[in-house]
Amino acid sequence: MSEALSFYFFGSIALLGGVNLLFCKNPVHGALFLVCSFLAIAGLFLGLNSGLLAAIQVMVYAGAIMVLFLFVILLLNLEVEPHQWMSPARVASALVAITTIGLVLQPFLFAPKPAVEAEPSLVVPPTAPNVAEVLFRQYALPFEVVSLLLLVSMVGAIHLARRPQRTEGV
């Protein structure tokens, strides 16, 4: 019962954050709505008994990534731009996106319900030690690849964000 309550509470907050992100004029407001959405998704993770991922979601997404976004918005010093909503290309692309989502949702909404809802068979609950066990034994290679990816993207980001003039004299 309490899980259903928290599911609908956090789920509606996440959806509202997404809708407001879609319609916001100022990117700073969009970033704040997105933080709301991320925190609500962390709450959903808690409801799924995955406290480790909820903590990581709050620290990495709502903390680090969104602070990076806000820093960049600060650096860019944008003016609020007037936007025209109803260009034909936009309406067409929105319709394509909505159709895609309809196709994705259709099997869930109209499929006959299974007679017996299978009880979750929690062989391995997602606590931190169990996740570490699986991550570092079974998925050690993907973990290393991700660390390499982070290194490469760090070097790439520094190279891309550097001013080109400064390297001329060296």
């Binding site: 990117p27 062989v123 391995v124």
Partner: protein
């Protein structure tokens, strides 16, 4: 006990909002944030399926997705800064030098 279907519908809706935001908005910052929303919807699917089926694998996948998202944001925002330096705008329609 919430059914798995409800989680899947919620994450499909979140993914749809991100997709619509990505196609409709032309502000590159908002487009990036929409991508983040889509990645989060995928994470929600992973964790929900992990709870209902096997165990810790879904959490591991979600962790990897978070790391990839962090890398993507770092590079993407650097590209955005370079674009702003060149064009003085973050409107994605302005970056069309390769178009005939």
């Amino acid at each position: 006990m919430v059914e798995l279907n409800h989680y899947l519908i919620l994450s499909a809706l979140l993914f749809g909002l991100g997709l619509i935001g990505f196609v409709v908005r032309r502000n590159s910052l908002i487009m990036f944030m929409s991508i983040e929303l889509m990645l989060n919807a995928a994470n929600l699917t992973f964790v929900a399926c992990a709870r209902h089926h096997v165990g810790a694998e879904g959490s591991v996948l979600a962790l990897l997705v978070i790391a990839v998202a962090a890398a993507e944001v770092a590079v993407g925002l650097a590209i955005l800064l370079a674009l702003f330096r060149l064009k003085k705008t973050v409107n994605a329609d302005e970056a069309r030098e390769l178009r005939a």
